[in-house]
């Protein structure tokens, strides 16, 4: 058993394995310190007020140029334990995690599905973009992740969210069709956001994640209205969970990939391990930590045929 584990580690896992893998994709494995980031809640406060309040506590606040309502913060204490946080004036959210909602661009009056909602960062962000008007249906499969989601919704005071505890792959049971869908899929994560990542991940786990993602993507896309938009994102750098899933959904037909129009990140890979992929996959955005200073991330914008 032990020998098998060692063998597996040397073949399909470990720092050296992933270093070579990323280099073959045109990337790098470089440990970068991530900046602390928050997202202001415009339903509860305004930029100048929040800045003033945080600066009076000794926090340095800097606008993230490519994120609406996003700020980098530097301070000597946790921003998760002060009154401004408890009152829902902001959400502590890593920079790249703020991008998918921006790409989805929900508008007031939309009916939006947040397919894997907990802990609720993007759910509350969706409502903020909608000005609190319209409805977000948030679903979460795991019961132990529900309290965190419900608490964040309470804290951020989002008026138009309905929550169901269910598997996103069974979302058809809701009998609803959506203008927009956010699928921030469960994924294997990335080394920049998790110090232990290189010790615990291997290709088998990544392939398992990719299979789960395809199952959820295949089911949720059926729930889009014609001409509706689905944004798919992961915090993974692995092509199996990103570009290869996009290739899979494009081959099934009925959707096109649109540009994400973000001011950050690289284009999606159109050649992966020697395999040529659909050229529109370049419309996706891939964040390599060494280039963006964020965690690893991938975002794609799919539009359903009219």
């Amino acid at each position: 058993m032990e020998a098998t584990t060692r063998h597996t580690r040397t073949q399909d896992s470990g720092e050296e394995f992933f270093r070579k893998r990323y280099e073959s994709l045109g990337g790098k494995l470089t440990h970068v310190p991530l900046k602390n980031a928050i997202r202001m809640n415009p339903l509860q406060t305004q930029e100048y007020i929040l800045k003033q309040r945080l600066e009076s506590l000794g926090v340095i606040v800097e606008k993230i140029p490519y994120c609406r309502n996003g700020f980098w913060t530097t301070g000597k204490f946790s921003l998760g334990s002060i009154a401004e946080h408890f009152l829902g004036y902001y959400y502590v959210q890593e920079t790249a995690s703020q991008l998918p909602v921006q790409v989805l661009n929900p508008e007031p009056g939309d009916l939006v599905l947040d397919a894997c909602a907990s802990p609720g960062g993007k759910t509350t962000q969706l409502q903020e973009w909608m000005g609190g008007k319209g409805c977000v249906v948030a679903i979460e499969r795991k019961p132990h992740r529900m309290p965190q989601l419900l608490h964040n919704l309470e804290r951020m005071r989002t008026p138009g969210v309905i929550v169901f505890q269910m598997d996103a792959a069974n979302a058809a049971r809701l009998n609803m069709h959506f203008d927009k869908i956010l699928l921030d899929a469960p994924c294997s994560g990335n080394y920049a956001a998790d110090k232990e990542w290189l010790l615990k991940r291997d290709i088998t786990g990544i392939r398992t994640s990719a299979a789960i993602q395809r199952r959820i993507l295949g089911e949720t896309i059926k729930l889009l209205k014609p001409n509706g938009v689905l944004v798919y994102s992961t915090c993974s750098l692995e092509p199996e969970e990103n570009e290869l899933n996009m290739q899979w959904i494009l081959e099934r037909g009925g959707v096109v990939l649109e540009p994400t129009r973000l001011g950050i990140g690289d284009a999606g890979l159109t050649t992966v391990f020697g395999r040529k992929l659909h050229p529109t996959i370049k419309n996706c955005t891939r964040c390599w930590p060494h280039k963006t200073g964020t965690q690893g991330f991938f975002v794609a914008r799919l539009r359903k045929a009219p």
Binding site: A83, F86, H151, R157, P159, V161, I162, M166
Partner: protein, 158 residues
């Protein structure tokens, strides 16, 4: 239980009862469209709209939103200085030196809303002795930092 809780602080109508939806142990503020969606689905809904509060055993756990609605109408309020406000959301009790303003004339054992200098409600306290006395005068009954400590303190509704 929601209405009983509100009446502890004010007799004034602060919420239209037709906008309140009960889901499990929670009370939610919803508009008509959201209510129709919840009622129209055949699935069990875990939450909808803005949480007002939750039944918790024999007690009630108010939301920060409900406290904000209450603070405009509540009979009794105390406002704390910066240090007192910080300590209060860390579950500490209130010493008379921290109080910078009192609204109304609360008696011993009355519940009061606890505010910071920016008039944001931080929670609820129970008056332990006359507010002019020295030392601990108000006990922390509930504060908005409870979730971080993962220790809910529901308010008893008799």
């Amino acid at each position: 239980m929601l209405w009983k809780f509100i009446r502890i602080f004010t007799q004034a109508p602060i919420i239209d009862e037709h906008t309140v939806l009960k889901l499990g142990s929670g009370y939610y503020l919803v508009d008509e469209k959201l209510r129709r969606m919840v009622v129209g689905t055949n699935m069990t809904c875990a939450a909808a709209g803005i949480l007002l509060g939750r039944e918790f055993g024999t007690g009630f756990l108010p939301s920060t939103y409900l406290l904000t609605l209450l603070c405009n109408k509540a009979e009794f309020k105390v406002t704390l200085n910066e240090k007192g406000a910080w300590l209060f959301i860390c579950a500490r009790d209130i010493f008379s030196e921290s109080i910078i303003e009192v609204t109304g004339k609360p008696s011993v054992r009355d519940l009061v809303l606890v505010m910071n200098a920016k008039q944001e409600c931080l929670g609820i306290g129970s008056v332990e002795q006359k507010l002019q006395a020295r030392g601990l005068v108000i006990k922390n009954v509930y504060d908005i930092g409870w979730f971080v400590r993962k220790k809910a303190k529901p308010i008893r509704i008799d």
